[in-house]
Structure formats: C-alpha cells, structure tokens
C-alpha cells in the first residue's frame, strides 16, 4: 500500500524524522488558511501517487496566503498522468543549500541481507536516471535485519555517496531513523528525495515516499483508514469491498481463475487466441459459491465485457461449489447477456460439470480444456461486438 506524501510525513514525524511544517488541504480556501498560519513563503504540492508531478506543474511556490489560495485552485483537480489531484500539501518553504537522496527498501535479490540502503549526493533529480547514467554516484549497503543498521553501514553510505562533511551528522541521523521507520513500520520502501541541507545547517526530508507491506497490515491497524478507495475505479472499489483480488484491464473477455499463476496464464492464452482480457480476478484457494457469485457480479458490471471465461483447477477449491456459485450469480443478476465459458478440472470436477449440465442455462458454455475454453470465449466476445 502506497502512502501519499502527507501521510508519509505524518509517519516520519512519528519516527522523529524532521520534515517542514505544513498541513494538507482539499480546497483553495483551506490552503490559504494554512499559508496564513505558516506565515511567509510556502510551497503548494499536489498529492498524487505518481512521479514527475513537479514537471507536470503540480508543485508551486507562493509568497502570500492569497497567492497560495490561487495556486492551490490551479493544482486541485489537475490530472497528473491519469491521477486526479484531490489534495495539496501546503508547507513552509526553506532556504536550501544542497540536496541529497536516500532510501531503504526490501530487496528480494539479496535474501540474506534483504534491506537495501541507498544514498547519493545527487538529490532532487530523477534518481532512476542517475542510476542509469552514473551508477557510481549512488552508494549502496545491504543490511540483514538480524544484524540491524550498524554505524559502519551509515559511514559506507555517507562516504560512498560523497555527502559533504558538514551534513554527515544530520544525514546520518536521518538514515538511522528511516531504517527504523522501515523495520518497525513494515515498510517495503522508505525514500527521501530530496533531503535538504538548509542554510542553518539542519537536514530535513523535503519529500517522502513510503510503501507499506500489505501482509503486515495486522501489525498496523491504524493504516487501514489511510487507504484511498476514492482513487480506485468502480469495479476495483466493489471488488475491494468484497475482498476480491481484482485488477481491471481494458479488454472484452472477463476472466476468473483460481490462483495468481493460473489466472495470469489464462490471460495469456486468451491474448494468444486473439482476444483482449478485461480483467484479472483470482478467487484464491478454497473459494465458495458466494465468492464466485460476487466475482461474476463485479466483472459483468463492466459494460465492455462481452464474454466471461471461468477457468478453475480445483486443489483446495471445489469445482461443485464453483458451479453452484455461477448459477447463483446468474440468478442474482437476472438479465445477463454475456455468455460464460466454464472449464472445470481437479477436485470434484465431475460433480461441478454435472451441476452445470443439469441446470442447462442458456448463458453457460462448458468447455473441456483450458485452450478450448480460451478460444471459445474469444470467439463469443468477437461475435457479440458485431
């Protein structure tokens, strides 16, 4: 789960990481009021979970509250790479002497020391470009959480990145706290770009990117309310509410599978058969009739869907329950036009096929194999488009 900058900065405050004074606003008026309280120059920043907002005009300076209100009205409602700006962060602008980069993240390629720390004296720029063009400008250390972040790791980052001596103490302290935020807060990523050395010698996190490991949500019950469901589209929101693992795509063949691998593979064979997948929906292990019914409901609420492919290999999942779920969904939804191609194998497949056969429903098209089912679903989707 990705946090917005203002949420990440709240988390930073909790871990003692210095950030500029500021507050989030959802209207120009609010932005002006915050600027009045802060006094002097402020910076108004679009709150979107996408990079490159500065270049897109999503970050602006203001020297008076009236100006803050006016730039906020320009930024609010903007569309930045498909992300609508619903809030702005208004912060006190400081004098910046130099800018650095620092991050900690979980690195699956180094499993023995899975926390990767990085720092660079090239801050405030596109760090991926720096990584590509001058990789030696980024210092890296791999840390085992069993050992923890040691003083030598911090020295390796400071010296390796060429951070100026006057900033060592401040940057070192920030690195320590960022590491703490990652391991105690179950972060997958904690990144600061830029980290600023101010004229008065302080080091401050001007920006904050934090991503939390969803699996660790049970240790952080307070995070649930930070999730921005308004950023999801209609089907994704409905799926989220029903606890379904759904990703919306752009095609015409709706897809339900069990298990992430088999479902991805189903998308692939549909594409190979000349179709376009409308979604990814993994009903997971041990799915029952209810899961099945709500999954079908979510997919068919997308008007672009012309046919639906249900591809199940029962391990824990029982095919008879899947078949019942399909029938229940058809009953609940009433007027369904899309044909549903169903392929069932594995646990209780015989029983499942029999349930569908006995029901003899006009929308249901049984299919013997995964490849046949994909071809059939694609054919039916094309037929209905014309």
């Amino acid at each position: 789960m990705d946090l917005f900058e203002y949420q990440a900065k709240d988390l930073f405050r909790k871990y003692g990481i210095p950030v500029p004074d500021g507050k989030v606003a959802s209207s120009p008026k609010q932005a002006g009021a915050i600027a009045t309280k802060l006094g002097g120059n402020v910076v108004v920043k679009a709150q979107v979970q996408v990079g490159g907002r500065g270049k897109a005009g999503g970050i602006k300076l203001a020297s008076t509250p009236a100006e803050a209100e006016s730039v906020a009205s320009q930024i609010l409602g903007m569309d930045i790479k498909g992300h609508k700006v619903r809030r702005v962060l208004v912060e006190r602008a400081g004098d910046i002497k130099s800018e650095f980069y620092a991050s900690f993240l979980l690195d699956r390629s180094e499993k023995n020391r899975a926390v990767l720390g990085m720092a660079s004296a090239r801050g405030g720029v596109d760090i991926e470009e720096v990584a590509a063009t001058e990789p030696e400008a980024i210092a890296r250390v791999s840390v085992s959480p069993l050992v923890g972040l040691r003083p030598y790791h911090i020295r390796a980052l400071l010296f390796g990145a060429g951070i100026p001596a006057e900033a060592h103490k401040g940057v070192g302290s920030l690195l320590e706290k960022m590491y703490e935020a990652l391991v105690s807060g179950d972060g997958a990523l904690v990144e600061v770009n830029p980290m600023a050395l101010t004229g008065s010698g302080d080091v401050v996190a001007l920006d904050a990117k934090v991503s939390i490991d969803d699996n660790a949500a049970f240790r952080h019950p307070d995070l649930e309310k930070l999730l921005d469901v308004s950023a999801l589209d209609k089907q994704e929101r409905a799926a989220k509410e029903r606890g379904l693992n759904y990703v919306k795509l752009d095609g015409t063949v709706g897809i339900i599978g069990n298990g992430a691998g088999l479902t991805m593979s189903t998308l692939d064979v549909v594409a190979q058969a000349g179709g376009t997948p409308a979604n990814f929906l993994d009903i997971g292990g041990g799915a029952n009739a209810e899961t099945m019914a709500s999954g079908i409901g979510v997919i068919l609420s997308d008007r672009k869907v012309k046919s639906l492919l249900v591809n199940i290999f029962g391990g824990i999942t029982r095919c008879d329950l899947v078949a019942q779920g399909i029938l229940e969904a058809l009953q609940q939804l009433g007027d369904v036009k899309a044909p549903i191609v169903v392929r069932l194998d594995g646990t209780n497949a015989e029983e499942g096929r029999k349930i569908l056969q006995d029901a003899n429903h006009p929308n249901i098209v049984p299919s013997p194999t995964m490849l046949d089912a994909a071809a059939e679903a694609v054919k039916l989707a094309k037929k209905r488009r014309h």
Binding site: S144, P145, D213, A260, G261, L262, M264, G285
Partner: protein, 290 residues
Amino acid sequence: MSILLNEETKVVVQGITGSEGTFHTRRNVAYGTNVVAGVTPGKGGQKWDDSVPVYDTVDEAVREVGANASLIFVPARFAADAIFEAADAGVGLIVCITEGIPVLDMARVYPYVQSRGITLIGPNCPGLISPGKANMGIIPGEITGPGPIGLVSRSGTLTYQVMYEMWTRGVGQSTCIGIGGDPIVGTNFIDVLGRFAEDPETKAVVLIGEIGGDDEERAASFAKENVDKPIVAYVAGFTAPEGKRMGHAGAIVSGSKGTAAAKAEAFESMGFRVGRSPTETALFAIEAVR
C-alpha cells in the same frame, strides 16, 4: 528416486488441529506420507484423528518420535515464529504453506535457516510431492503419478495444471515442488535445479515461473552451466500490465526487468524450450523424455 521427500521422511505438522491443517494432513496421510506427530500449543497429550500424537512444542516431537521434517499450517502472524521453532528443534526440512507472511519476517527467517543448513520450502506455496511415495502440503495427489520429470514452480494451481496435462498423457513426475510466490522464499529455482541435476531418476525438468524479480533469469544461467538434462520452461504473465499487483506480493513488474518476455527470452537464449501455454509446456516435456 526423488528429491527432498520420500516415504521414509518423518513429518511433524505444526497447526495440525486447525481446520486447514486437519483437512490437508488427512489427505497427506491417505497418500501414504509418514506423519509421526502434530504440534498445537496447549493440546499436547491428545491424539489427532485417534492416531497421531500431538505435542505442545516441535522440540518434543523431534525428541519423542524423531520427526525430521515439519509442515506448517499456522496463521500468517505466527508463521515466522513457527519456522524459527522448527529450525531450532533440529528438523532438516521445513515446508511452510502459510500465505501472507510479512516480508520483513521472512527477511529475518531466511538468513537464519540458511546459516543452519536447513531447507525451507515456501512460504505461500503448495508444498511438494514425490508421486507414489509421499505428499507434504496441498498438491492434489490424484492428478499425478511416478515418472521421469522433475517440476519446480513459483505457482500453485498453474503447477497442478501442468502436472495434470502430463499425467493425463501418461507421463509422471519424480518430485514436484512449489517454491512459493513471495518476494523472499526459502528455496529458489537454482537450489532445486541442482538437486534434480543429481537425481538419476529425473530425466528432464519443467520450470514454471512468473513475472517479478530475476530468479528465472538466474535459473536459466545456472542451468546452462550446471544441469545436463533437458529443461522446459513456462512463464505466466505476458499480458500483465506494468506495476499492477497480480495476487502475489512478488509478482510486480518494475521496468523491463522482471517481465514475462524477458524471462522467456532468458531461457531461449540459453537454448532451453519455452512453452507458450501450460499444454505446450507439458507436450515439450513429454517429447524430452521419449
């Protein structure tokens, strides 16, 4: 022969009295797996299904009945603790089925079991089966049988699909291992490939990958140098959009690295065949052993 698991392996099941633990342990026992003990703290002294002794700790199960492998079904928030307990009790093989373990927990578990020379399969995996001998985990035993093909996969149901496609055509497997789809799993493709390379009964290997990470690319390079047997690969996720989450925490594409196309290309450039569908993958594997 088979790798890692056979009819002699003495299995203790952690979480045996839970609903999932009970359901799958029954299936494993029915398959012929030598389940010698169960562990549920607070239920020590009971008999599970009137036959298997239950202990409060893994340590007791190892001392009392000589368990040398552990199968874990405990909930995600207790799973890392269960793995540490099994490791300290001295079992040599740990299979963790549990899904949803925090990545940082695994970042602590991995170097620990690694340093003690323990084989950890999973987490978030279906386990492993040596057809005709023993089944440890949730793979349906009836969709496979003994044969010459070794199978290693990051997926669950996709593995079943490929096993089934081979078995319905009369070709079985030596051992099938689901290594799990999480970012940090105990055993990777390379560990398993090395074992299949040395197993005289395994004549060919099927490797099933997914998007995310670079384990498949590393496996391809390793296999080229170290495995003198035919390998057939399959990678799911060609149509996955970049940056979208597809179920497994590990299955995230970032940039070009980690895409299905890049992984398939890695195998092909090393001279291995890559199936375009589970069916074609099974057919290629059958050709390789006939």
